[in-house]
Amino acid sequence: MITKQSPGLKLVLFCMLGVSLVMQGYASEGGKNFSRMANSNGETCVDCHYFMESDTINWNPSAMDLASRAQIYAEDGISKYFTSPEGDVMKKAHDGYQISAGDESGIIAYLADLEGTSPSKVKHVKWRLILFAGMFVLLILLRVEKRRIRVLPKTARMLIRPLIWTVILVIALQDAVGFNRSKNYEPVQPIKFSHSIHYTDNKIDCNYCHSGVTKGKNAGIPPVSLCMNCHKHQQEGTRTGFFELRKIVQAAEDSIPIRWVRVHNLPDFTYFNHMQHVTIGGVECATCHGDVENMHTIKQVEDLSMGWCIDCHDITSVDFSNEYYKLYYPAYLDSLQTGKLDSVMVSDIMGRECAVCHY
């Protein structure tokens, strides 16, 4: 699937490209071609090989991704990707491009120049900040109104002012309380690996890759060698073609580990054990990691704060069929059996005690 970008964004990208070229003092023919050359659908190179990360995953290799292979292109040329594209994805995308020898060397030179950079991020409008600042502006306006204009009735002023202050306080408090939390953290990964494709489409169990989850502290990120169990046979992706998978194949061949960006970070002073939660507690992965089955890029959905942990401990019941609990918590067992208690919560069995996580 090739993402269609809106004309507006295209324009922005184009402008950015232009600016960046001017900035570098480099306006090669290749660069122009990269954004001008079109296939039969009228899509230019830059339409797919983007310069800016979008909010939703763009399965195509970015211009910078291509640039990382500039060395190879310089040796092999790129015309073969147009004359005989490998795999269905590229065939479909590269259909209809005409490339001359001159264009080819220009684009390669251009890509070589891009090497080492990375796509820029979309700058989101900070509505919250604007709202916060706006409240203060409103306060000033209200004052001016009171002093100079005086159109509002006195009661309105009396109502509005506390309202504004409430909004300010609520925002400030929420932001202060949630400060430095990384909820919704969704970094760009070195490989466009989709949990959705692997788990939902291909029915691969979480445990297959994250095998540590039942055995110990760390769930574990699979070694490349494990990826190769399947990808030895499946080297073309339905969305990414050969490009992303080639990274894995290459890593496996070179025995070089892939440097993923860690999404779920706990501070060093917090001890968390997956086995305790998954094997013994029977907690589902999704409880903490969210709807991973539908995520193309992995995203932190919870704030992973201590408050969040203990809130869950408060409402999660303990499986009292475990001999350990039966042995050491006879009073609870008794209450459960006599029906005095419906369930025993994690908080009741030390789930709120400091040294369970901090030591």
Binding site: L173, V177, G178, R181, D303, S305, M306, G307, I310, D311
Partner: protein, 485 residues
């Protein structure tokens, strides 16, 4: 109601009128400061800068730059903290408790005593923050909502301190400011237009001396005094609980709250004397702060000093009487251990020297009083040092016994707080009236020389008013002053 002695001297000397009071008191603010002031502020600001550097040094490198160690976890820092808090107490005592007891002589000194309270509390508050290992996480001590779901430990005396000191500071500031409002109004009306006037305009909150405002003002002052009186007792009690609720031999003592409070007032009055004796001279306010004031304060010093001395002896007695060997050792160690000199400095400065004040000649001697007040300041500092350090350095397990010696950083910090205190005071005397103008005016007729010696308003009406008892009224004394003639 206090009965004034017929022999009592007037509280204000010289022939004063309302206008001359205003002028006298506001003059230092309107004239150019003298060279003495410049020298003073230069010295104290330099000390302040030194302190600022030491704060930075401590925070950056860690508390290891102090002389503290495994066994002695608190040293100069906490000594200074308690000392400063204690000094602050005199201000509140003068303004609140003496107000409740209708001691009119307080009017001459309460303003600067209150200012002193605020500056001293600020100095004190520095130490609990700076002595933390991680002051940048100091906000953990406030019970604020957070994502950890954690609160604070309400069992901890340090947490009580947080509440006590912040309440104390807030209430002191409010009390001081409320009292200042009419005087700021006076300044506002006395100075020429300019940015200063604008500032005073804002600070005066539009005060104009309306009868209703005065009425509320007086009620508020009285009520705040009524609140501040138990507050001031509670604050030093709570500070003393930092020690008293612990189990360290020499700290774990039920006598501490009253002992600390009287010690605080003792040291506070000494500091007030130190400051006032200098101020009256420097600002030419001998007419307002008279020998009578000095003598009154000296009497309080004898009283509180004797209470403190009694506490020292009681501690010794209890250590012996309780039969607890650790307690017994701790007290013996104070007097005869390696820090014996600190103990005997404390004893001589706090218990022995103030007894000289029983002699009237000495307690009315300004120079003697000044020297004595310095002695008491030193002695009370050593009292805290003795309590903090000599209790800790030899506690239960003899294997952990060790010695404590401050580093240049700790000394610098102490000098820095002195610098801050005096810098703030020097600025204060240039910015706000050191004597409560309106209060002085209200007692001028009853206690001023001019009025006492001359026209006295009809006594009958006055007594009627005072008997109606609807406000802070100590006019009955005017009867007495007329009797004097």
């Amino acid at each position: 109601m206090m009965i004034q002695s017929a022999l009592r001297n007037p509280l204000i000397k010289g022939k004063k009128t309302y206008q001359s009071i205003t002028t006298d008191i506001l003059d230092p603010m309107r004239s150019k400061p003298g060279s003495l002031w410049y020298i003073g502020i230069f010295i104290s600001a330099s000390a302040l800068l030194l302190g600022a550097f030491m704060i930075f040094w401590t925070v950056w490198n860690g508390i290891g730059t102090w002389g503290l160690n495994r066994t002695v976890g608190w040293g100069w820092g906490i000594t200074n903290f308690v000392w400063w808090i204690g000094i602050g107490h005199a201000g509140t005592f003068i303004s609140a408790i003496l107000l409740l007891f209708r001691q009119r002589w307080r009017t001459s000194i309460n303003r600067s005593a209150e200012a002193m309270t605020i500056f001293a509390v600020l100095c004190a508050a520095l130490f609990p923050i700076i002595h933390m290992g991680r002051p940048w996480l100091g906000f953990y001590i406030f019970p604020y909502p957070n994502t950890r779901g954690m609160w604070v430990n309400f069992n901890s005396p340090l947490l009580w301190d947080v509440f006590a000191i912040s309440t104390y500071f807030t209430i002191s500031l409010v009390f001081w400011y409320v009292g200042l409002i009419p005087d700021i109004g006076s300044i506002r009306d006395k100075i020429k237009d300019g940015w200063k006037k604008t500032v005073y305009k804002v600070l005066s909150l539009g005060w104009k001396g309306s009868a209703r405002h005065w009425h509320r003002h007086e009620v508020l002052s009285l009520m705040l005094a009524a609140l501040a009186a138990p507050l001031v007792l509670s604050v030093h009690s709570i500070v003393s609980m930092d020690f008293a609720t612990s189990i360290v031999p020499g700290w774990h003592t039920t006598i501490f709250p009253p002992y600390f409070v009287s010690g605080a007032i003792f040291s506070g009055f000494a500091m007030v004397l130190t400051l006032m004796i200098v101020t009256r001279k420097a600002l030419n306010l001998q007419d307002y702060i008279t020998v009578g004031h000095v003598e009154s304060m000296n009497k309080i010093i004898i009283a509180t000093g004797s209470i403190v001395g009694l506490a020292y002896i009681t501690e010794m007695f209890m250590a012996w009487y309780s039969g607890v060997e650790y307690e017994h050792y701790a007290l013996m160690n104070r007097a005869t251990g390696p820090y014996w000199w600190a103990y005997w400095i404390m004893m001589s400065c706090n218990l022995i020297t103030p007894q000289l004040l029983w002699i009237k000649k000495l307690r009315t001697n300004i120079l003697f009083t000044f020297c004595l007040s310095i002695f008491i300041n030193i002695g009370m500092w050593f009292e805290r040092f003795v309590i903090v350090v000599t209790s800790l350095h030899r506690d239960y397990l003899t294997s952990s016994w060790t010695m404590y010696k401050p580093t240049i950083v700790e000394v610098g910090l102490f000098i820095g707080t002195l610098g801050f205190f005096f810098t703030a005071f020097f600025i204060f005397i240039r910015v706000f009236p050191v004597i409560a103008i309106s209060e002085i005016k209200s007692v001028m007729k009853s206690s001023g020389e001019k009025v006492s010696g001359g026209k006295v308003p009809g006594g009958k009406a006055q007594s009627e008013i005072s008997q109606s008892g609807n406000s802070q009224s100590d006019k009955t004394q005017s009867d007495k002053s007329s009797e004097k003639e």
